[in-house]
Assembly symmetry: C2
Homo-oligomer: 542 residues x 2
Amino acid sequence: MADTHLERRRANFAPLTPLSFLPRSADVYPDRLALVYGARRYTWRRVYERCRRLASALTAHGVQRGDTVTIIAANTPELFEAHFGIPMAGAVLNTVNTRLDAETIAYILEHGEAKVLLTDSQFSPRVKEALAQLGRDDLLVVDIVDELAALAPGEGERLGPLTYEEFLAKGDPAAEWAPPADEWDTIALNYTSGTSGRPKGVLYHHRGSYLMSFGTIAGWGLPPHPTYLYTVPMFHCNGWGHAWTMTALAGTVICCRYITAENIFNAVADYRVDHFGGAPVVLSMLINAPEEERREISHPVKVMTAGAPPPAAVLEKTKALGFDVMQVYGLTETYGHVVQCAWQDDWDALDFGAQAEKAACQGVRFPMTEEVRVIDQESGEAVPRDGETLGEIVIRGNTVMKGYHKGAKATEEVFADGWFHSGDLAVVHGDGYLQVKDRLKDIIISGGENISSVEVESVLYRHPAVAAAAVVARPDEKWGETPCAFIELKPGQSAEEAEVIAFSRQHLAGFKAPKRVVFQELPKTSTGKIEKFKLRQAARDL
Amino acid sequence: MADTHLERRRANFAPLTPLSFLPRSADVYPDRLALVYGARRYTWRRVYERCRRLASALTAHGVQRGDTVTIIAANTPELFEAHFGIPMAGAVLNTVNTRLDAETIAYILEHGEAKVLLTDSQFSPRVKEALAQLGRDDLLVVDIVDELAALAPGEGERLGPLTYEEFLAKGDPAAEWAPPADEWDTIALNYTSGTSGRPKGVLYHHRGSYLMSFGTIAGWGLPPHPTYLYTVPMFHCNGWGHAWTMTALAGTVICCRYITAENIFNAVADYRVDHFGGAPVVLSMLINAPEEERREISHPVKVMTAGAPPPAAVLEKTKALGFDVMQVYGLTETYGHVVQCAWQDDWDALDFGAQAEKAACQGVRFPMTEEVRVIDQESGEAVPRDGETLGEIVIRGNTVMKGYHKGAKATEEVFADGWFHSGDLAVVHGDGYLQVKDRLKDIIISGGENISSVEVESVLYRHPAVAAAAVVARPDEKWGETPCAFIELKPGQSAEEAEVIAFSRQHLAGFKAPKRVVFQELPKTSTGKIEKFKLRQAARDL
């Protein structure tokens, strides 16, 4: 049937790009509220104008197709706009974790070859030091000055010749712009937080980010015009792609600079937020919030959680707040979530605790995800659906990264055998739902037995005094390794090491119970992941 | 940034195809009800097994990649399964309008080079004649025998060696199958109903049907697991793509062989159908149904209507039944709907009549539609948003056909200047919503003035005795053409020509009022479109 008149042409082929969502929402819903931040209110028409200003100002400065533009910012309108304005100029959006140290920021600016840096002035001390280390005169620095930033001494210094608003003023709100020539063109460069060594630069293409949006809408059941509270940092997997997804639906995005229980409760109540996302640590923050920080929520709220396997107890308590939590799983390399704990009708009949156990699974693939398997690492075969056999999660589909920037070797390794290898260990239950048990490197091998640190943690979370728990391997002459628990207690609560160990032994095989328990605040990354590498070091030093 | 390690590979690139939705729904929701037809109930696991049987039976028969498999069937499970089983064999799904005459059926089998014909035995008289005209011994004919078919004398004859169920029995329910090698590969061949001349064979690619599903979910706000009543013929634009869309959402599809008000009301009430689609003639059928055929509907029901511009009065009355109607617009060449009357918040404050006027617009582009314009045919420029200036609707995007099968010349014509030219005339209102006024060839030119037949019809629909109205051009020595109205009266109602003309002149400029009015039943296609070519002939013969 092939015939030359049936080839792709302008009328019937357009490169897939999430940028296409913005002109549509600006055309169809020009006066609808798009962004809310403090007293700032932008409609979709206005957002599009501001993004065109940004794109044209970048182009006027000399930014070319394929150049990198870096942004270090909190979840403010500027970071949202960067998700459109930068790629509308043909450039690659490089968001940076705001908590990184100066040396790593300098490394990213160098490795990513940034042509322009947009930087929130709250982070000026570390960014200034990074720029000094970088020593590049040609890098244009634009300061995002946010009057809602709570500046500490030394913060707030201007590092460049222009503020973001001055830069926008140089742009044209009606500027023409071109979509990518190829849907495989890079839209974003996201550095992994990498617990050791240099971060890796993960490249996303326009096609993937477009499909991520549609797959999320279908998989999460997003309605038209959600009101979305942006608690997930947009520098993390582009905020799970929701900047683009919410634009596809002409939703209203409530920006949130400081993630506190009070701010979340207030935003949900005041703006009738119906969707938000957050790591389990954010859920813990909500369920442990003191009474005076809480607000009564009477409307339905859906919450997507990811980043670490949340204990069933946390899910159960969050649901009791009136929040409908769906756990998802993914990595920076998969644009964020590619697996979801899709609800099954027959779970309705289960009791609360059994439902929470179900919901503690990461689940099954999203609609845009081609295939997910848990494989035996030796044979490459899928593990049995027995809820016990550990294997590595491997993924393939259109929301898997292009590869690592300047990282041919690492790319080939992670893409071995036609799959993306996640490095995460999981079991598959009888219903086909996978459950993450650990990072490959987080597994504890004690006397030849594998111990899942997540399993031990989930028991510790059931202890009434425990606010947060992390279990790591501690070297042991006899057993090789033994589990060592680090525990953050609830305010006003106390516990004894021996009592916690005894509690664990009631619920776990003896060899899985922690041999040591340390009570302290847990070190966390900005995205709420507990920094286990620090705890592993601490365990070694005990 | 280009680098060879960043090229497409199996881990990060999968050709887009709606076929991918079926294994996911069968994996994740194996026991969920997928298809209901009479006493038949198939889960998603079962549907997938039956589709794999069909695909493998076709392959075993010798069907190769790119071959055409034709199906002439009512909206039964077999036609649904064909949407997966045929392309899973690598073949092209060719659905045929069941009301076509034998000669046209023979033409389609010949032109499409069908290798296998699946045919519902109710249509055996015309299909038998078509096969005789075709005279091909090598065509395998498989009879779909439906015990729910109400057979007239002569119908129900078996034309081939096997029934559909016997054919499935030869297949393997666990057969392996391969997705398309290229997402541009053809998934379907749909012949236009063509009011004159030979029908044209419209080719869809896998990419377009995949994006059609996701765009429909986002644009129509479809939730997970809708219960969808299939009243739209699946032979028409693949039933607006919903066979694939409902599979993406693991919905429940209620098949419906005979479209009557009673069947629709019963299905909606008994199965709690929450979504269905239908041409305006279906809506008219519902609002004009006698009391004894109605059922009380207390749950929300969303209805997509398309196929002809529905009069505001029809929309208003359908809404009064409790059905939330959204009008959409599209053509066979655009996979069905690409424009939707997206609701605006500020319409909530309008009165019922004003809302219906708004809802009578076809509207704005769907999320997956790249661009829609209404252009002046001479200049090619967009017409002003004045609600008055007529122009042609042109469309571009990923849900525009590949082109016409064996129709290079017609393809080049319809794709002139980088757009698909719809041949439909519309105005654009101040809010950017387009409203279809007529087919190019349906416009009446009287004394040099353009008269929109749709405008005249919408006035006639307001007349209390009118059930349906169609206005066409009648040759006139003095004026060139004048409007001639054909009117179907409501049961038990009567009207006079002079009185209807006077009624029209109260609501229209004098030159737009019909000069002649004829009372008769209106000829309609199977999809509810009024066959204006027959009326134009009748008008000439008056």
